[in-house]
Amino acid sequence: MNIDYSQELPVIERSITLADIDRLIAKPLDEKPDKKFFIALSITLTLLLIGAVSVTYLFLNGTGVWGLNQPVGWAFDITNFVFWVGIGHAGTLISAVLYLLRQKWRTGIARFAEAMTIFAVMCAGIFPVIHTGRPWLAGYLMPYPNQHGLWVNFTSPLVWDVFAVSTYFTVSLVFWYVGLIPDFGILRDKTASKLKKTIYSIFSLGWRNSHRNWQHYEKAYMLLAGFATPLVLSVHTIVSFDFAVSIIPGWHTTIFPPYFVAGAIFSGFAMVVTVLIFVRKVFDLQEIITVNHLEKMNKIILVTGSMVGYAYGMEFFIAWYSGNPFEQFVFINRAFGPYAWAYWIMVSCNVIIPQLFWFKKIRRTIPAMLVIVILVNVGMWFERFVITVSSLHRDFLPSSWGYFVPSIFDLGTLIGSFGLFFTLVLIFTKTLPVVAMSEIKAVAEGAQPSHNGGKH
């Protein structure tokens, strides 16, 4: 089919009344959760339990229960951290950047993506804490006045992380909540149950849909979006500094900030698509979260995937071009050394497979894109694994080379993080409107005044 690109596609497929939108979106909140939901929840909770068990065991015995060693001091822990932070980025990007770019289609998915951001950052935040040898002292990473009269080392990228991630979390949360206020208002006025009403009232803070408020509201939303955009870039830049600031060949690379950000968006969108495919089905939101949305995201996946691929190539080029023997060794070792398997999984999943999105057909067929985006997620996890482990396991002195083998507790923690993420997502779908009602209404057909000033 050929589309006339001169005018934007309608955001909502068949035109539905504003009331319908309310009903549709609020449906999962009003109804009792069905069987499907509980099955899904039980699965995610099992994963979460696995994670809980492994973390408990970790706390009881020490970091040694993982496969870590000299020289590989970081492996799954930091890999997971970077992976989850990356996942988070798509949300902010969709809600903030696309907002600034006046992309109307974002409205359908923004709320959901933001939620995923928050949950992903929660998952990410766990790892810096549990990866320490003495987690009960993790508070030392915060600059608080203490009896030692000692502050933190502000020159350490890990401290930057603490600030970046916590700021990122706070801002995302605030951004998300601000978006939710009007919807809370709607729900408050819709619901019949007294309890729900109280809760919604509290969260709506007494929102009155007053235009005098709308005016400031939109301004604030704009400002937040304006800040969230550089923030999201800075966060993954700083995360990449964890590596780039060190002197280990394979880490000490100036390309990392853009490379990481691209990767983050890449994986983030992949994750959003993965989840949305199910959500729109389960809560039949096909009209609101349309295939067009998905296709648009797939396009972004294709772009960012290619950027990541470019970064891979560029790393090799620079390694060769720099003439630095350590650098050269690391990259040859990456591709052909003991961790070659991980490297090639990464390349095929991140660079080769997404190229399929050049075909419109594949972009628009659900099963195909599902397979691809899942592979992309796998690939992006491995990218972080390769960067972390393959650089560490063979650094400067051949005498101290080693090899990292994950233990079951490494895997347990990884699984657990997924469990936590999806559990939160499930709960979210049942407790909050997965689509921004007021925003959707605003972009519905005939929602805005026709410009003849309403004379008739």
Binding site: G62, T63, N69, Q70, P71, H131, I332
Partner: protein
């Protein structure tokens, strides 16, 4: 007022000053004296003035409030443990300050003098005794780590008696009386005492007295590693009893034939010192040149300038070929070579030998030239494992070359009890089986483990009614005995040793027995005493003293009384007498007949060597030694069959595969390591492993190779097994090493250490031609982003001389003891979590057949621009004003970022509470806590740690300097590794002090930093190794 008094009336007696101040009429004092009972202390406190406005109500309120507050605040207050002082403090002990006691190590037959550091009466560290003329303040790794044996929880703690197959705890009194009876009743039937070689004059006397008391007693002494073959060969050639000492430091050329004189043969500590004396970077001209011809890759071979792969069973023809080459080509003549010797050796051509054994003839001719050119100042050393004929040939070669000059003429090892040959042991077993032996006393010996299978000693023991074993730890023999008597550790015992002519070394206890143990001499002494009931701790001390008074005191013409002499001797730990050894160096030509050039058999030859760490197995329960990597292969916790790559391919085996080694009906199975530099069709195995009963630590460590021992012909040696059949077993056993076995054909990793300038080398000629060669064409100064931090006062630095370092690992052992380094156990080493702060890196270059080996001690480099510091989020590691990279354990949260960012990977992380993990918390027992250095934190899990340059020693030195109010000098501090380094390779001191000896090493032309281009500015300087080859390029 004193003044007034005086002027009024001159009464001197009433007139003395009470203090210097008063004498000097210090106004303050006088004032103070006036107001001694100054009025009004109570006056200015009046109830109504001070307490006005504070009503009773308020007061009580306040009172109760503060009470409540106090109650809340102090609720459940934790006290930091009791303070338990001495009731009467011994004069020499000052709490918090160490004491030092001179004593003697009994870890091996060399009995080095040691200086034991004690804290509050507990030994915590063993170093060499600087006053000892032989080991001069150094000990080996075994000696360093042997302190762990003292506190080892699996020591035997009380006498045991076997009844009905099981051992029961019992009392000494009980055992003594029982045994005494059985001894008395044993009259007629033989009482066999089985012991290792006895170096103690007093113990010998004691045993003699035992024989007098019980005439039927017979003493058998054995060691599974000894010099007897060399000695007997020497006797045949020169008539002396023992092979003389060699003046290693006077040899320009050393040719070692399967001889590990830097590793395990003879007094290694002394030999490595003498050897390294000729590796002085300030006098490069005098460098010695080491040729090694060996089948095994030994520590000595690792340090060779030229190395030939020659199997032990080829050594004889090698030596003869050399003789031939020298006499014929270099026409060196000597009376020592008579006619038939001449025509014998004429049958041996060096060329043929070279071609037959795949040795490079060019290199051999270099050797021949050197030997010819350095006659009288070269030394050919035949390893103790070589058979007698080879030894004789070696003697002959040295005689011909006139190298006998290098034999020490006036001092030699003391020939003690002549060893009992295997025949005698077999005879004993026979008479045991025949029931002629009623009592067997194992005098701290473990024959059941040591004796070869085919002697069937254990079976014979069952025929003996009373088997007594005196031992520190449970062992195989103990399990086959009726009485097991726990004996003192060296550090709990009195004793004396005489290993060299005129050197008498004393042993004094530094702690009273921590368990119900007695020292082995005292036990025997008690049995031959009239009444065993009145045993006392001092029993053997008195015996020792009397013996010294009678026999040793006269030898030293001392001006003092014996008491004074004795105290002095104990203080020094060693005395020397005027005794001289008589060594006759007149060669009596011997017949070397019936020797054919041996065909190189395709069958395997096996060499059994002494373990570098466990010696003959006596240290197998010592975790530190088990974990201390093998100096060459870096393997820990296991022994293995070292085999060459080619031979392995032929058998189609790879690392960790199991092979079965079969030698006349005896066979063992053990894992394989492909060891570069090992001869073809040759396998080297280490003894001392595979102990069945020796405590929990040694369980499942290695394979027992004793069964293989060659007990057949006497001419042949017990350690060299020829015509061995080796076959692959369809199974494997992972052998763990701290450094992966280098892959020679991987172009990516090959010679990485050279390409990366980690190891920088040159040759002597190169250096003599151009001393500055190392730094030529290299960027001397890497630009800096910030100005350097100014360290104006003391700044600590270290220099490590790779010419002197032989990679023995003594420093690592010393560091472990000094810094409370935990043992992590085999599976943790496998994961790569060993905790040693100091490690010795070993690199191969060249080919797997002819590898060039380089060793490099690697420890925290205390970089000025330390990468680890920048990344620590909590500032747990930063720099001290004296240039140390500090690690603040209690601030560390354990992110491991510092370790990741350390280019040298010298940081160690407590992934677990390792003490809790090894052998079920073995090293968490209370006894071990007595050993730990109180000045060093025992780190908890989750904390990063690393070399601290022994900061506790720096602090001690500093406080002393402050006490004396002198400036702290660099030479005031000696790190543990430095003290232990037998070759003085490690120097430590103040970088800023130009007049220190250290300074010249720090700024030596050969000095370089590892990974210099990273510009992290390390404070450890390495002096590049100069190989003493004939060429200029490496």
């Amino acid at each position: 007022m004193a003044d007034q008094n005086f002027s009024q009336n001159d009464k001197p007696e009433a007139n003395y000053w009470r203090s210097f101040e008063e004498l000097y009429e210090d106004q303050k004092t006088l004032e103070a004296k006036k107001h001694e009972f100054t009025e009004g202390v109570t006056d200015d406190f009046s109830v109504d003035k001070n307490l006005s406005g504070l009503s009773r109500r308020k007061f009580i309120a306040l009172l109760s409030a503060s009470a409540a507050l106090a109650g809340a605040g102090c609720s459940d207050y934790r006290d930091k443990g009791e303070v338990i002082p001495y009731n009467v403090k011994p004069e020499e002990v000052n709490p918090g300050k160490p004491d030092y006691y001179a004593s003697t190590c009994n870890g091996c037959l060399q009995n080095c003098g040691i200086l034991v550091k004690t804290r509050e009466g507990r030994p915590i560290k063993i170093d060499g005794n600087p006053d000892h003329p032989i080991n001069k303040g150094k000990v080996c790794a075994k000696g360093e780590a042997s302190i762990l044996n003292l506190y080892d929880p699996s020591r035997l703690q009380f006498p045991l008696v076997k009844s009905g197959g099981i051992f029961e705890k019992t009392s000494w009194e009980n055992v003594d009386s029982k045994i005494k009876n059985s001894l008395d009743s044993a009259a007629g039937s033989e009482i066999a005492i089985i012991t290792h070689r006895v170096n103690s004059p007093t113990t010998k006397k004691l045993l003699e007295e035992f024989k007098i008391k019980y005439p039927s007693a017979k003493i058998y002494s054995y060691d599974i590693f000894h010099n007897e073959i060399k000695n007997s060969a020497w006797k045949k050639c020169y008539g002396g009893d023992v092979f003389p000492l060699i003046k290693w430091d006077e040899a320009n050329i050393i040719l070692s034939l399967e001889g590990d004189f830097l590793g395990v043969e003879g007094n290694v500590v002394e030999q490595m010192r003498l050897f390294a004396n000729r590796k002085d970077v300030n006098n490069v001209k005098s460098f010695n040149r080491l040729y090694v011809a060996e089948g095994n890759m030994s520590l000595t071979g690792m340090n060779a300038d030229y190395r030939f792969r020659v199997r032990p069973d080829q050594q004889l023809s090698f030596v003869l070929s050399l003789l031939n080459e020298l006499t014929s080509k270099k026409n060196i003549t000597s009376t020592a070579i008579d006619a038939n010797t001449k025509n014998l050796i004429s049958g041996f051509s060096l060329k043929d030998f070279a071609s037959k054994n795949g040795v490079d003839y060019k290199k051999l001719s270099l050797l021949v030239n050197d030997l010819a050119a350095n006659r009288g100042s070269a030394m050919v050393y035949g390893g103790r494992a070589l058979d007698e004929q080879t030894q004789i040939a070696v003697n002959l070669l040295n005689e011909v070359l006139g190298n006998t000059k290098l034999y020490n003429a006036d001092q030699t090892d003391v020939a003690h009890s002549v060893y009992n040959s295997m025949d005698e042991c077999k005879a004993l077993v026979a008479s045991m089986n025949a029931g002629k032996v009623k009592t067997v006393i194992h005098f701290d010996a473990n024959p059941v483990y040591h004796f070869s299978k085919d002697i069937q000693y254990e079976k014979a023991l069952s025929k003996v009614s009373t088997v007594i074993t005196l031992t520190e730890f449970e062992n195989e023999t103990a399990f086959a005995s009726t009485y097991v008597l726990p004996i003192n550790h060296t550090l709990e015992s009195w004793g004396d040793y005489n290993v060299r002519t005129g050197v008498y070394s004393l042993q004094q206890p530094v702690i009273s027995p921590i368990y119900k143990t007695r020292q082995k001499e005292a036990v025997i002494l008690n049995w031959i005493s009239d009444n065993p009931k009145n045993y006392s701790e001092k029993l053997y001390l008195d015996y020792l003293k009397t013996n010294w008074q009678q026999n040793i005191f006269p030898k030293v013409s001392s001006p003092f009384t014996f008491e004074k002499f004795w105290v002095g001797a104990l203080h020094d730990g060693v005395i020397t007498t005027k005794e001289k050894a008589v060594i006759d160096l007149s060669f009596s030509s011997v017949s070397l007949s019936g020797i054919k050039p041996s065909k190189d058999s395709s069958n395997f030859t096996v060499l059994i060597t002494e373990s570098y760490r466990l010696s003959d197995g006596r240290f197998s329960n010592n975790g530190w030694l088990q974990e201390l990597p093998h100096p060459v292969s870096k393997v820990t916790w296991d022994n293995y069959a070292a085999i060459s790559e080619k031979s392995a391919k032929a058998l189609s085996i790879k690392n960790n595969d199991l092979v079965e080694i079969k030698f006349d009906k005896k066979k063992i199975t053990l894992p394989v390591i492909l060891q570069p530099g090992v001869a073809e069709n040759f396998i080297a195995v280490e003894s001392g492993y595979g102990r069945k009963h020796s405590g929990i630590i040694a369980e499942e460590s290695g394979v027992n190779v004793q069964p293989l021992y060659n007990t057949t012909a006497n001419t042949n040696t017990p350690w060299v097994l020829t015509n061995v059949s080796v076959s692959k077993v369809a199974s494997s056993h992972k052998v763990i090493s701290t450094q992966d076995h280098q892959n020679f054909d991987d172009t990516l990793t090959k010679d990485a250490h050279i390409k990366r300038d980690i190891i920088q080398e040159g040759t002597v000629l190169q250096f003599l031609k151009n001393p500055g060669f190392l730094h030529e064409g290299k960027e001397q100064h890497v630009p800096n982003m910030y100005d350097d931090f100014a360290y104006n006062d003391v700044k600590w630095g270290m220099s490590i001389d790779l010419n002197r370092c032989i990679g023995c690992g003594n420093c690592v052992a010393a560091c472990n003891v000094e810094n409370n380094i935990p043992v992590v156990g085999k599976e943790q080493v496998e994961k790569g979590r060993e905790m040693m702060w100091l490690r010795i890196d070993r690199y191969y270059s060249g080919t797997p057949e002819e590898p060039k080996v380089a060793v490099q001690p690697m420890l925290c480099q205390h970089c000025d621009q330390a990468p680890c510091e920048n990344v620590c989020p909590v500032a747990a590691t930063q720099h001290s004003p004296d240039g140390l990279n500090q690690m603040v354990y209690n601030r560390c949260v354990g992110t491991r970022y510092c370790s990741n960012n350390c280019p040298y990977k010298v940081r160690r992380f407590n992934f677990l509470n390792f003490r809790d993990y090894v052998a079920g918390g073995h090293y968490l027992e209370d006894s071990v806590s007595l050993m730990h250095n109180p000045e060093v934190t025992v780190r908890s899990r989750g904390v990063m740690e690393k070399c601290s340059f022994c900061i506790q020693r720096i602090m001690e030195a500093r406080s002393e300097a402050i006490g004396k109010n002198q400036p702290l000098k660099g030479s005031d501090v000696q790190t543990a590794c430095q003290v232990s380094c037998g070759t003085e390779a490690i120097k430590f001191g103040n970088i800023n002090d130009k007049n220190e000896e250290f300074y010249q090493y720090r700024n030596h032309k050969l000095g370089y930093y590892v990974l210099e281009e990273l510009n992290v500015k390390p404070n450890v300087t390495y002096l590049a190794k100069l190989r003493n080859t004939h060429s200029e390029e490496v």
